[in-house]
């Protein structure tokens, strides 16, 4: 890449970063308002109920004020990494979220990779050959998987494991360390197949690839004897894949809530479920923020790839 091309790219990247920060501020504002508008305003009531919690201290420091004062105060703490303490366990939310967030990140990334591993060959095959019997079968398979309730599929997997291999994932939560390798694979398998992303990925990748294969410049590549795949790689593969991955992160994170529950996976989703049941507001707020950070990171990476791959974007 030419050095002259680097400057606009750097400028675009700062712009994207700025947008991401703005969006995260927006997310925090939305979360704040949901809680602020909740019946009885948890900001106020919770403090009274749980005298020992940190929420009390927050209230002490800033007893009553306009909503924006409350928000700014809260935001100031959030920026410092202080998301408060769980009302249930009393642990600092930030540490908990980071700890479980890493587990969820493993699960999410693994399952997206698995989905790609399945979706890409199917998409390439059907884009090249059209809907032949095999292509049709594979596509239909992806649709069926997308339509299955994931926890039901998870139970089937567990059942098969018990009966075929005698491995029982119930041992998970308690003593996960020695089983980690195997246990890691099962939730990844279920989430990767069953989060509803597989069929959409197949369809989107196929459509993009077959669209790109009909572009004029691909015809030119054939006319000069070059490989069409080499020329179709960027627009027909790299761009749609990153696009799809970024777009599907929120869905996979949502799916992770269910799958973590099925497999007792100590991740953020299970924590969210726990928090929702206990109405543990600081915790679920922290998780929502963390999830938003995940999503924004994903689309930031997508933007970076797009800018690097597509010079048109940088020169517009």
């Amino acid at each position: 890449m030419q050095t002259s091309a680097l400057k606009p790219i750097a400028r675009l990247l700062t712009k994207e970063l700025l947008i991401a920060v703005l969006l995260l501020l927006g997310v925090s504002l939305v979360v704040f308002f949901i809680l602020y508008l909740a019946p009885g305003n948890p900001f106020a009531t919770l403090a009274g109920k749980r005298a020992g919690s940190n929420w009390h201290q927050i209230q002490d420091n800033e007893p009553s004020g306009a909503w924006y004062a409350q928000y700014l105060h809260w935001l100031g703490r959030v920026v410092q990494g202080d998301l408060g303490h769980s009302t249930r366990s009393g642990l600092p939310v930030f540490n908990e979220v980071i700890k479980t967030g890493l587990n969820t990140a493993f699960l999410t990334i693994g399952s997206i990779l698995l989905t790609l591993l399945l979706a890409v060959p199917i998409a390439v095959y059907t884009a090249r050959k059209g809907l032949t019997a095999i292509g049709w079968g594979l596509t239909a398979g992806s649709y069926i998987l997308a339509a299955l309730p994931s926890f039901w599929f998870g139970y089937i997997v567990i059942y098969i494991c018990i009966h075929q291999f005698g491995v029982f994932p119930l041992a998970f939560g308690a003593d996960a360390s020695q089983w980690r390798g195997i246990y890691f694979l099962l939730p990844v398998l279920v989430l990767g197949l069953c989060s509803g992303t597989l069929s959409e990925m197949v369809r989107y990748l196929r459509e993009e690839l077959s669209r790109v294969l009909t572009e004029d410049y691909i015809r030119t590549a054939r006319a000069k004897g070059a490989s069409i795949w080499k020329h179709a790689l960027r627009e027909g593969f790299v761009l749609p894949v990153t696009e799809m991955v970024a777009a599907k992160i929120p869905f996979v994170l949502g799916g992770a809530v269910v799958v973590e529950q099925v497999f007792n996976w100590p991740g953020m989703g299970r924590l969210a479920w726990q928090a929702a049941q206990d109405r543990d507001f600081p915790m679920i707020m922290g998780i929502t923020l963390m999830a938003a950070v995940f999503v924004r990171t994903g689309s930031l990476i997508k933007q970076v790839v797009h800018i690097c791959v597509n010079p048109r974007a940088s020169q517009e």
Partner: protein
């Protein structure tokens, strides 16, 4: 060998002959599912059911299909599965329509505003869409459920809102396409008012197929979300049946080898969602690609 025959006189073929047979099969299957869903809703609404959905038969727990007048067997409390499956649609139908209505109206509004007027409004809509997209749907629902209460309509409102960016994005790109072709400009030059251009020419003539497709996908989404939430315990609550809580309740007996009570509703979910997805896909292939 693929064979092509020219008929001496070109046929004035109906659309199902012009379309790819796979698409026709998709749409046919999807329509069957739609009819069944609406039929079940009506049956449930007028309470015309094979059994009493709440009648507990402790003698017949988790019965396999076709025992003692129960065509699809019974659940863990001996209640008739078929009856509860039919009644389960009640849990989705109106809430699902609510979600669809929100997604379509707000989405169309945002999309038209962003595409038609553009400029600053486009920035605002794009920001809002990205903001909504930043929340994983299920996490946002959990937050709402924790803060307010686990109510299916509240959940569906959230589902509707999280679907808004998708609809808005599609409408916006459609409007941009029409703009690029000077289509909107031509309508303005003719002296048509904004209202007429937006509602008649943009939404009705050029976006209706797209909106129908999004509606079918929205229904599928509603069912899947409710299922997940039922599993997490925040969906429709027992004893009111929903397919989600039926799978959930049935799966407690899964590890004891009692597959049927959870498999029946799971298959219902599978076939229904498949139907909506394929309907959307088939319509997309026929309506959007051919004329687009």
């Amino acid at each position: 060998m693929k064979s092509f025959t020219q008929h001496p006189i070109p046929l004035k073929a109906p659309f199902w002959k012009k379309a790819h047979p796979v698409d026709v099969a998709y749409i046919g299957y999807g329509l069957v599912i739609v009819v069944m869903v609406i039929g079940s809703y009506v049956l449930g609404a007028v309470n015309w059911l094979p059994h009493d959905p709440a009648a507990i038969d402790m003698a017949l727990l988790n019965a396999p299909p076709n025992t003692a007048g129960h065509w699809l067997g019974t659940d863990f409390m001996g209640r008739d599965l078929l009856t509860r499956l039919i009644l389960g649609i009640q849990a989705y139908f109106l809430p699902g329509l609510t979600a669809i209505a929100i997604a379509l109206t707000v989405g169309s509004f945002g999309g038209v505003v962003a595409g038609y007027w553009g400029g600053r409004l486009n920035l605002v809509v794009t920001y809002a869409a990205n903001l909504i997209d930043s929340f994983p749907r299920l996490v946002l629902i959990l937050l709402m459920v924790a803060v307010f209460k686990p109510d299916i309509y509240l959940i569906m409102i959230v589902v509707g809102i999280t679907n808004v960016p998708i609809v808005a994005g599609l409408i916006k790109s459609k409007v941009m396409l029409l703009k690029e072709k000077n289509f909107i400009e031509a309508a303005v030059a003719l002296g048509l008012g904004n209202f007429r251009i937006i509602f008649k020419h943009i939404l009705w003539h050029n976006c209706r197929a797209l909106l129908i497709i999004q509606a079918t996908l929205g229904m599928a989404e509603a069912i899947l979300i409710e299922t997940s939430l039922s599993y997490l315990g925040f969906g429709v609550q027992e004893p009111i049946p929903s397919w989600g809580n039926m799978v959930q309740a049935g799966s407690n007996y899964f590890l004891q080898g009692q597959f049927w009570p959870s498999t029946a509703p799971a298959l219902a979910i599978l076939f229904t969602i498949l139907g909506f997805h394929l309907l959307g896909d088939g319509l997309n292939n026929i309506l959007e690609r051919k004329t687009g």
